[in-house]
């Protein structure tokens, strides 16, 4: 398993070399969006309007951070469960999104979209929100402020520690539960 340091925006070449199990330290700007923000992004797309950030080469982080205490750019900021965004991810990948960051399984449709549009799904450690916030050096709300923790933020990250869960070649890191031997 390889280790890479990558910068956003991500290119097809960046994504193509990644295999499930690789460790990636991500740098640059990533965008936070979860349930409510995705719904709003879809409404903008349906209305033919511009999105609040450029999808080309972008990485979306499924996160709803806790409020920033004085002296820190952000509160705890670990991943939320990704499957709830499965209905939205294929459309965003088809428009240039390169990476999503979250935790937990993705649907077959999302995996197919990542193969077709050269995308990657990264896992970050769930429930390690304090630790992960250390890699976020700046955070600015850029859209849907009214959504509070669910607003879209541009987050500047430095060596954000990620694992490739699903690569663009059909590889997957999550183990299949051994139901046959259990109990």
């Amino acid at each position: 398993m390889a280790e890479y340091t990558l910068n956003t925006p991500l290119t097809d070449a960046d994504v193509e070399k990644l295999k499930a199990g690789d460790v990636v330290f991500l740098n640059g700007t990533i965008y936070s969006a979860r349930d409510a923000a995705h719904k709003k992004l879809m409404e903008l797309l349906d209305a033919g309007k511009e999105l609040p950030f450029d999808l080309k080469g972008a990485a979306i982080y499924y996160v709803g951070p806790s409020p920033a205490p004085p002296g820190r750019p952000i509160g705890a900021a670990g991943p939320t469960t990704s499957y709830r965004m499965d209905t939205y991810a294929p459309r965003l990948h088809s428009l240039g999104l390169k990476a999503t960051i979250g935790k937990g399984k993705r649907s077959d449709e999302v995996k197919a979209a990542m193969r077709e549009h050269t995308g990657v799904y990264f896992g970050a450690t769930g429930g390690a929100g304090a630790l992960l916030s250390n890699s976020i050096v700046e955070s600015t709300v850029i859209a849907f402020e009214e959504l509070g923790p669910e607003a879209i933020r541009a987050m500047k990250v430095k060596d954000f520690p990620l694992l490739v869960i699903n690569d663009c070649h059909g590889g997957e890191l999550y183990v299949k539960p051994r139901l046959d031997t259990a109990g």
Binding site: G21, D35, A36, V63, G64, P65, S66, P67, A68, P69, R72, G75, A76, A77, G78, T80, T81, Y83, K103, G104, K105, G123, T125, G126, G127, A128, G129, A130, L131, S133, N134, L147, G148, P149, E150, P161, L163, L173, Y174, V175, P177, R178, L179, T181, A182, G183
Partner: protein
């Protein structure tokens, strides 16, 4: 009749909310360390290392352990010979939640089920009251994360399915949940009662210490049997494979209707964020 000023309740609740969200309980830390010693895979060990580092950082910075500071769930035992003066107990608990979630910079995660509009202050808390003998007021708080709660289920088994049916349902539920609830998780199981009561006692089971042993040897043995079966699934920390899929299984069993076998499986986050105070 003993009297407790309402402000004491508010302050105690606020302090519990902040402490539970920022300090990993010692029994959980011990389990992480034990798991770290037992795991051989590098990815499993790395996850556990990060969780321990996360706990140190949260303790030192007062950042919450997880950005999802949960819905505030309470189990409250009110002694027959004590009362709260100067205000209503339910309202005092909610006020304590408002204060704790604001002062502790905790995320407010309560929203309208359809419009999804955030209530803005972490309330309403989910509160279960019980009346007990004595002149004390006991408040137990849990920060219940959404990711693990979403993986929980209630089912009405047929009595003929018995223990084997229970075991099958629990194992399949945890297998299906896979990496989604941030394993290693803690599994609270409610067996018996009614549809609603099974879920309540499943959640109540999660208030126990991870290192305790159920006083009933039969239930203690069943907890161990399920824990071994779940860890045999091999899901491991964050679903990356390993020996530690659950940190513990806690069962509460109560009588049920002749026709029923209610079963609730409540999945809880690894950090098992909870606190209690006796006033």
């Amino acid at each position: 009749m003993r009297e407790i000023p309402v402000q004491d309740v508010i302050d105690a609740v606020a302090a519990m909310c902040i402490k539970a969200n920022t300090e990993l309980p010692d029994d959980v830390r011990a389990k992480f360390e034990q798991a770290m010693a037992e795991e051989t895979s590098a990815s499993a060990r790395e996850v556990l290392r990060q969780l321990l580092e996360n706990a140190d950082l949260a303790r030192d910075t007062k950042l919450p352990l997880c950005q999802d500071c949960g819905l505030a769930v309470f189990f409250v035992e009110v002694g027959d010979d004590v009362r709260v003066v100067g205000g209503n107990l339910r309202e005092a608990i909610n006020e304590g939640v408002r204060k704790g979630y604001a002062d502790g910079f905790l995320r407010k995660s309560s929203c309208h089920p359809l419009t999804r509009a955030n209530t803005g202050d972490g309330t309403p808390a989910i509160i279960h009251f019980d009346m007990v003998p004595g002149d004390k007021l006991k408040l137990v708080y849990m920060a219940k994360g959404g990711g693990s709660e979403n993986m929980s289920r209630v089912t009405m088994l047929s009595p003929a399915q018995g223990w084997e049916g229970i075991k099958k349902f629990v194992v399949e539920r945890v297998a299906e949940a896979g990496p989604n609830p941030c394993p290693p998780t803690v599994i609270g199981i409610g067996i018996g009662g009614t549809f609603d009561h099974s879920a309540k006692i499943a959640k109540q089971s999660l208030m126990r210490r991870l290192d305790d042993t159920h006083p009933d040897p039969d239930i203690a043995a069943r907890e161990k049997e399920l824990e071994d079966a779940l860890n045999d699934l091999g899901i491991g920390p964050m679903g990356l494979g390993g020996k530690t899929t659950v940190l513990g299984v806690k069962i509460t069993m109560e009588p049920c209707h002749l026709a029923s076998l209610p079963l609730a499986v409540n999945v809880q986050c690894h950090s098992q964020r909870h606190e209690e105070v006796v006033l």
